[in-house]
Structures are given as C-alpha cells and as structure tokens.
C-alpha cells in the first residue's frame, strides 16, 4: 500500500507465509466442531492473509486475486448460505434452523444431519466475515478510492 517501502525480503517472506495462513483459516473452520474455532475466527484469519498481502504487495495484486465484484458477492453469499440452510429446514417440515430435518435430503441420521448443518452455516459465516473484513480494510486504507490508488501505483512503477 505504501509504494516506496517495497522490500524483497518482506515480499518473499509474505509470499511464503500467506498460503499457510489461509490453510490455517480453513483448518480452524473444519476443526471448529471438535476444538476451539469456527467460522468467525477462521474468517478473520483468512481476511488477515489478504490484509498481509495488501501490506506487503500492493492493492493491484489483491484486486487481481480477489476482485471487488467477487468481494461484494461473497459478502452477501455467506448470509445467504446461512439463511438458506434455515429455509431448507423450514421447507422440509421443521422449524427455522432445525438442522435435524436435513436428514431427509442427506444420507445420514438426524444427529449427524445437525453436524453437517452446523458445518454449512459456519462456512457461510466464514465467507461473510472474510469478505467484509477485506472490504472494510480496503475501503479504509484507500479512503474508498480504489481506482485512483491503483493508478498512483502504476505511475510509481513507471517513474522507477
């Protein structure tokens, strides 16, 4: 984000580090049922990996990998997955968010259907939290002017 302080050491270390952070975020989501963790924490760790990418590289790199259109889509997709899981339970004849009824469409018994229903909603929470955190950070750090910031970075490249 600050072009003058670009450093080959920082970039190499971050390039090495970011995949492990993202894998850890997914691990926290997947192991949220058996150990501390869950969608919120995993989403924050995933967002932190993108924030680290913004700090060590620049905005253009982040927007190339995680475009703004995709970001806005993910913001609402997570809430949609959560509410949609509840709505599917409602359509299958149970109460809203009563995951036991999911056993009618999943090949499991009602107890394990609750397990998988919880996994689905945690995934939704993780997607929303990750997209929202990245979006808030990018809007704060550029004061909402993504395009101008990318152009300034391009100008900085040419003058070197």
């Amino acid at each position: 984000m600050i072009r003058e302080h670009e450093d080959i050491v920082i970039q190499t270390v971050c390039r090495f580090f970011i995949p492990f952070m993202q894998a850890y975020g997914l691990y926290v989501l997947a192991h949220g049922h058996g150990s501390p963790g869950g969608g919120f924490q995993g989403g924050c760790i995933l967002a932190a990996s993108f924030i680290l990418m913004t700090i060590s590289y620049d905005l253009k790199e982040v927007k190339r990998r995680f475009s703004e259109k995709l970001n806005v889509l993910f913001c609402s997709l997570g809430v949609f997955i959560y509410a949609g899981t509840g709505l599917v339970c409602l359509l299958l004849g149970g109460n809203f968010l009563n995951y036991g009824k999911l056993s009618k469409i999943l090949p499991t018994d009602p107890v394990m259907a609750r397990y998988y229903g919880m996994a689905a909603i945690e995934t939704g929470v993780q997607i929303t939290v990750m997209a929202i955190m990245v979006s808030i950070f990018l809007n704060l750090v550029t004061a909402g002017k993504h395009e101008e910031t990318v152009e300034e970075e391009d100008a900085g490249d040419n003058s070197k």
Binding site: M1, P36, F40, Q41, C44, A47, I51, F137, L140, V141
Partner: protein, 81 residues
C-alpha cells in the same frame, strides 16, 4: 484459576490500557491496544474460555489493529488534546 497468574495478567492489562489512553502518538496507542487485547486473550485462556480467547486474538489483536492503522494512515497520527 491460579490467582497469582491472574493478578500479573490483569495488572499488565490495566497498565496497557492506561498507557494506551495517555500516550500522545496514536500509532503507539493502537499497538498498546493490541497488547491489551493479547493480555485479555491470555486471561480468557487462563479462565478456560478458549473460544473467546481465540476470537479475541483473531479480531482484537489481529484485524482490529490493522483497521486502526489503516485509519491512522489516512487521517493523522497526532492527538489534538
């Protein structure tokens, strides 16, 4: 719960909080707020609330600090008072 460890962690949390509101440089205040979050995280781990501690470490010390630094980067580093 071991009260000696609790006492040390709580004292450090109070010191970090008091320093964060009295320091002039806003960037230092943000870093001290992150330190406060970490002490609260350790306190919660010590009390057995591991999920809350995890959330505090991920949100309070990780993402929140980045948000504050981004806001300072776009506004000002000095306090008015």
């Amino acid at each position: 719960m071991i009260w000696q460890i609790n006492l040390v962690l709580l004292s450090f949390a109070v010191i970090a909080a008091l320093t964060a509101i009295s320091v002039k440089d806003l960037l230092s205040a943000v870093v001290l707020l992150g330190a406060f979050s970490f002490f609260m995280c350790l306190l919660w781990t010590e009390m057995g609330a591991v999920d809350v501690a995890f959330t505090e470490a991920a949100v309070g010390a990780g993402v929140n600090t980045a948000f504050f630094i981004a806001a300072i980067y776009k506004t000002t580093r000095r306090t008015k008072d």
